[in-house]
Structure formats: C-alpha cells, structure tokens
C-alpha cells in the first residue's frame, strides 16, 4: 500500500488522444497566425509595430529604469495569442514593475486581464471582476460577483521569486494583506494605475520569499487576501482556501 504513495498511477495519453491533442494544438497556433493577417511575414511586421508601441510605453514610464521584464515580448506574444483566447479591447500596459517582475494589464471582451511576468515564467488571468475596472457589459467579469481585489499567482525560475502574487484592487483599496496557508502575513505593495488606464483601480504585487516557511495543507499557498481602505477599514476579506 505504501508503495502507492511513492508511485501513484502514471497515465499516458492514448495514441488517439495524443494525435487529437497534437492536431488541435497546431491548428490553434496556425489559426491564430493566419487570422492575425497572414503568415510569418505579417507576424514579423506586427512584432516590429508592437515593439514600437512597447518602446513608447517604456519612454512614457517614469520608472523606466526599474523595468525588469521585457514588455515587448509580452506584446509580441499577445498579437499571436489574441485569436486563441479573449479578444483584447486595448493595448496591454505595464501597470507596475520591479526587480525581475512586471505586471501588465489590458481590457478584453471578458473583462480586465492581468499578466504577471517573472523571469522565465508568468501567469495570466482574464475577466477579473473587480469594482471600478471598466468592465464591458455582458462580459464574464460584469456578470460575476464583484470584488475589491482579484489576483494571479506565478512561480519564477530564477530563484528570485518563489511565488509572486500580482493583482488588481478597487480605487478605495490602499492596503492589501496576503495571508499564506501557514498563517504568515505579507503586505503587498500597492500601485496607482497609470494615467489613462481605463477605469479606476489600483494594482498590487507581493513577492513571497523563498525563506518563507512552507504553506499549510491547502492546495493554494494563499489562504486569503484582505483589502483595507485609507482609514484602515476592512473592505473585503477575500477567502481563497479557508
């Protein structure tokens, strides 16, 4: 019996499953490429154009020197990705960044999207139902219960970010406290949205250091997120694994 715990079922895709998934994957990739205007040449042109957009964003950013992760790469990826998942309604904008991480946000037909990028990895979430996020009517986010905070988790691959948490909060939120599954509390850094960003929101980021004690017994390393206003009043206790 004990062996099972050290060697659990190890399944493989059947040949037909493998073939179906492989074909689907390649079709999705090609579909995105062709629908975005043609073959590789068009995409190459698009990359150049998007890189120019990224350069403009970078030039406008006051904290240009603090930008650690390539926004242009995100924008390039977005051009290809847009036909696969949600439809962007605006350009991705780097809304916050620090040493080795970057938080990018944009509006989509599903609602606000967040892309948290850490070295060698990242995670994306779309349709985040946060108060004040200029969510399109009838989108997933608009038809979901509204919250004061929304988040995305990512592990990095540089040893720098064991676990990174990026998120968006309503305009009233000034302080964000994360409670890890082991009870440890970490305060997130809160950022104002760049001027001109649709809606009225803040963004936040927290780096859970590698020296932090291991989490509890729940699936997510996050137990909850507490959002406070300027006077210290709790606006929302967002339970994740409690």
């Amino acid at each position: 019996m004990n062996d099972k715990f050290f060697s659990p079922p190890d399944l493989e895709l059947s040949p037909s499953e493998h073939a179906a998934r492989r074909g689907h994957l390649l079709r999705e990739i090609r579909r995105a490429a062709y629908r975005s205007g043609g073959g590789k040449n068009v995409l190459r042109w698009r990359r150049r154009r998007l890189t120019l957009v990224a350069a403009a964003v970078l030039a406008m950013a006051v904290t240009a020197s603090a930008i650690g992760v390539g926004v242009s790469a995100i924008l390039e990826a977005r051009a290809l990705h847009r036909q696969i998942a949600e439809r962007p309604l605006g350009q991705p904008v780097q809304v916050a960044s620090g040493a080795g991480w970057s938080l990018v946000a944009w509006q989509s037909n599903e609602g606000l999207c967040l892309d948290l990028v850490v070295p060698g990895n990242g995670a994306t979430a779309c349709g985040i139902p946060v108060v004040g996020a200029a969510t399109p009517a009838n989108s997933y986010a608009a038809t979901s219960p509204q919250h004061e905070v929304g988040y995305v988790l990512a592990s990095g691959q540089s040893g720098q970010h064991d676990l990174a948490v990026g998120g968006v909060a309503s305009a009233d939120v000034r302080r964000v406290m994360l409670t890890l599954s082991d009870g440890q509390q970490i305060e997130a850094e809160v950022f104002d949205a760049p001027s001109g960003f649709p809606g009225s929101v803040h963004f936040f980021f927290a780096d859970v250091p590698t020296s932090a004690p291991p989490g509890g017994s729940t699936e997510s390393p996050l137990r909850s997120i507490d959002a406070y206003d300027e006077s210290g009043r709790l606006l929302e206790h967002f339970g994740i694994n409690e």
Partner: protein, 212 residues
Amino acid sequence: MNEHYSIPRIASAMMSNGSDRTLWEAVRNGDEEAFGKIFDRHANRIFSYCFQRTADRDTAQDLTSIVFLEAWRRRRDAVFAGDLVLAWLYGIALNVLRNQRRSQRRYQSALARLPRGEVQPDFTEEAVARVAAEETMRLIAGLVQVIPERERECLVLCTWQGLTSSEAAVALGVPPETVRSRLHRAHERLRKQLAGAASNDGELAAGEGATT
C-alpha cells in the same frame, strides 16, 4: 535524497531529431512543426503530472493542451535544464494548475474547437482501468494533503514525476537545495502519516477482534 527516488523518465524523452534546445531555436522563430515534436516528446509527462494533481483524466488532458498553448505563447522565455525544456514546461503546468479555473475559462473557446470525435471511445476494460486510476489518485491526493503545498510540489515533481532536484528547481523557481530539503520533509511527513494510518488500522482491527 530525491536522487534516490529519481526515475530516469526524462531520459526516455531522448532526442531522435536533435535536442530540445536545438528544436526550440526553431520554435522561437515560429516553427509549428518543431513545436509539434516538442509536444510528442513531453506531452505524456505533462499529462501525467496534471493527472496526478487533478485525479481526473479529462481535466488533465485539457490542462495539457493549455500548458502547451501557454508554452507557445511564452516560447521566447523558455528556460532549459541541460538540453531539456521539460522542467520549464512543468513550471508552466504548475502555474496553470494554480490558476486552473481561470486558465480553463480563458481557453474555453480554444478547447471547444477540439474535435472530440477524433478520440476513439474507451473500450470497457480501459474505462474500468481509467476509473480505478482516478479513484486511486483521489485517495492518494487526499492523503498527501497533510503535506504542505510547497513540499507536496517537490514530492510530485521529484518522487512521482522523476525529476532531479535541479530540474525541479527550474520548474519551481527555487534553488536545488531548497527542493532537496522540502522533499526530505515531505517524505518524512508521508512516512509518519502512513505509519499512523497503519497503526490506526491495526488498532481498529484489534478492537474489532475483541468485540467479536
């Protein structure tokens, strides 16, 4: 510690048409066929990992598709462990699993285009085996819940998936020494848990014997 349990499965993803690193140069430049070869090499490992984390074969298949769609999207950020890109794919899978509900919703339209008819239906024997595997996995997943998440990730990657501590370190974004110490703690907790369960079973059996 982990090397003791390490299974050289990654070696089974050996190269027939060049290393992952060589192939990935083409992938980076948008070569879909090269990406198809990467899928051929590593899809089963990612599927197995997703299954062991979800205990659901259908969900694991969808998550595998999402992992590779994400990998294509992030192909310029790939990190290699030696010449293999597999550890990086595990890292993507980890984040997809962490954000599972939103990931699935995000790729809902792409997944809806999967022609399910291409997959041959299970024969009865296979279906029974599948249900048994899912039940076993659910049982195991329930029992390893006593292990803290970070340690459990190391257990799954190193002990169940056969990664070395260096490879798991790439996937988890922590130093290899951290992986080793977490894995050690995970094994200790698991042994205690299993010993406790066996002891309880013994006491229960003894108690039952006394009443009959």
